[in-house]
């Protein structure tokens, strides 16, 4: 898992609509990458559905939440529609899992991203990370707000 304080690795991936999305697009803003194994598998579905319920509160804190898995943009589009969510989903499709690997969030052998959260601050540094101890569980939405609280109360680091 990538360490707090490291510069967040740059990336450019397609979203569910086929648009290119780069980390640099979020410069000056906070972004939370939610890596997850696969669209349509039961736990993933609950995780993004749950976060959708508190999207206004997340947005009010100036945070953009972005999902990342190795699925294609087509699967992401269908997944969004099936779940009724509008969270941007990025396709870490080719090379497979390259961005997940760069963030230390790829499960070799299984060929999917690990279920993790990475908070990147306005300066493009990793501010907080979370890794599920059990692939069958996912981080509650409260942890996102805890991370934001910690970021906002931390002394600035040069």
């Amino acid at each position: 898992m990538i360490e707090v304080g490291e510069v967040a690795p740059a990336f450019t991936l397609r979203n569910q609509d086929g648009e290119q999305v780069s980390l640099s697009d979020f410069a000056g803003r906070k972004v939370m990458l939610a890596f997850y194994p696969l669209d349509f598998s039961p736990v993933c579905s609950d995780q993004l559905s749950l976060y959708q319920e508190v999207k206004p509160e997340i947005a009010a804190r100036g945070l953009e939440l972005v999902g990342v898995s190795v699925d294609s943009m087509w699967a992401h589009k269908a997944f969004q529609e099936k779940l009724g969510i509008d969270t941007v989903l990025l396709a870490d499709f080719e090379p497979k899992g390259e961005v997940a690997r760069a963030y230390g969030s790829y499960i070799e052998g299984a060929g999917v991203a690990d279920r993790t959260l990475v908070l990147i601050d306005e300066d493009g540094k990793v501010a907080w990370t979370y890794e599920s101890s059990n692939p069958g569980e996912f981080p509650g939405a409260n942890l996102i707000f805890d991370a934001l609280d910690a970021l906002e109360s931390a002394p600035s680091v040069e």
């Binding site: 579905s45 609950d46 995780q47 559905s49 749950l50 959708q52 319920e53 508190v54 206004p56 509160e57 009010a60 804190r61 779940l83 009724g84 969510i85 569980e137 996912f138 981080p139 509650g140 939405a141 409260n142 942890l143 996102i144 707000f145 805890d146 934001l148 609280d149």
Partner: protein, 158 residues
């Protein structure tokens, strides 16, 4: 951070981690003995399957609303219906009804259920569409989020 319903400057709820709130006068509680607080989604099949076991397990049960609308689009209406039934003393009866028979939950079916429970339909209809009840339901949902609820039913022993 306090455990109450703190509100940020933007008018958004504070959703950082907090334990489940203690029982309030308007919590829905039945039974005697050891208290179990259950966060449940009235649209969730897992909750429906578990509800019989939870109810027959004895002890004191507190039901708190946890609708995940993006996953179960009809859930908010069902929670509002239960809360409205509760205003006429039939909360657990309505919850039992909704979990026992999950297929017929459109408005006419909800009116049938309310009539079967002997409720004043006009009051039921007015209450279930009220902002006050929506706020009441959301209050439970937010307390569940803060306590780290990620799937339903979420059971908290006293």
């Amino acid at each position: 951070m306090g455990g109450g319903a703190a509100v940020t400057l933007e008018g958004m709820a504070d959703l950082s981690s907090a334990p489940i709130p203690p029982l309030a006068p308007d919590d829905h509680v039945e039974g005697e003995g050891q208290l179990t607080v259950v966060y449940a989604d009235l649209g969730c099949p897992h909750c429906a399957a578990e509800w019989g076991r939870i109810r027959s397990g004895g002890g004191r049960i507190a039901f708190r609303h946890f609708p995940v609308a993006s996953k179960h689009p009809r859930a908010p209406a069902l929670h509002a219906a239960a809360e409205a039934a509760g205003r006429q003393g039939a909360f657990f009866a309505m919850v039992d009804s909704l979990y026992a028979e999950r297929g017929r939950v459109d408005d006419p079916h909800l009116w049938e259920r309310a009539e079967r429970l002997g409720l004043d339909l006009a009051a039921f209809e007015r209450d279930r569409r009220s902002g006050e009840i929506a706020t009441r339901v959301r209050r439970d949902f937010e307390s569940g989020i803060r306590a780290g609820v990620t799937s339903t039913p979420a059971v908290f022993p006293a």
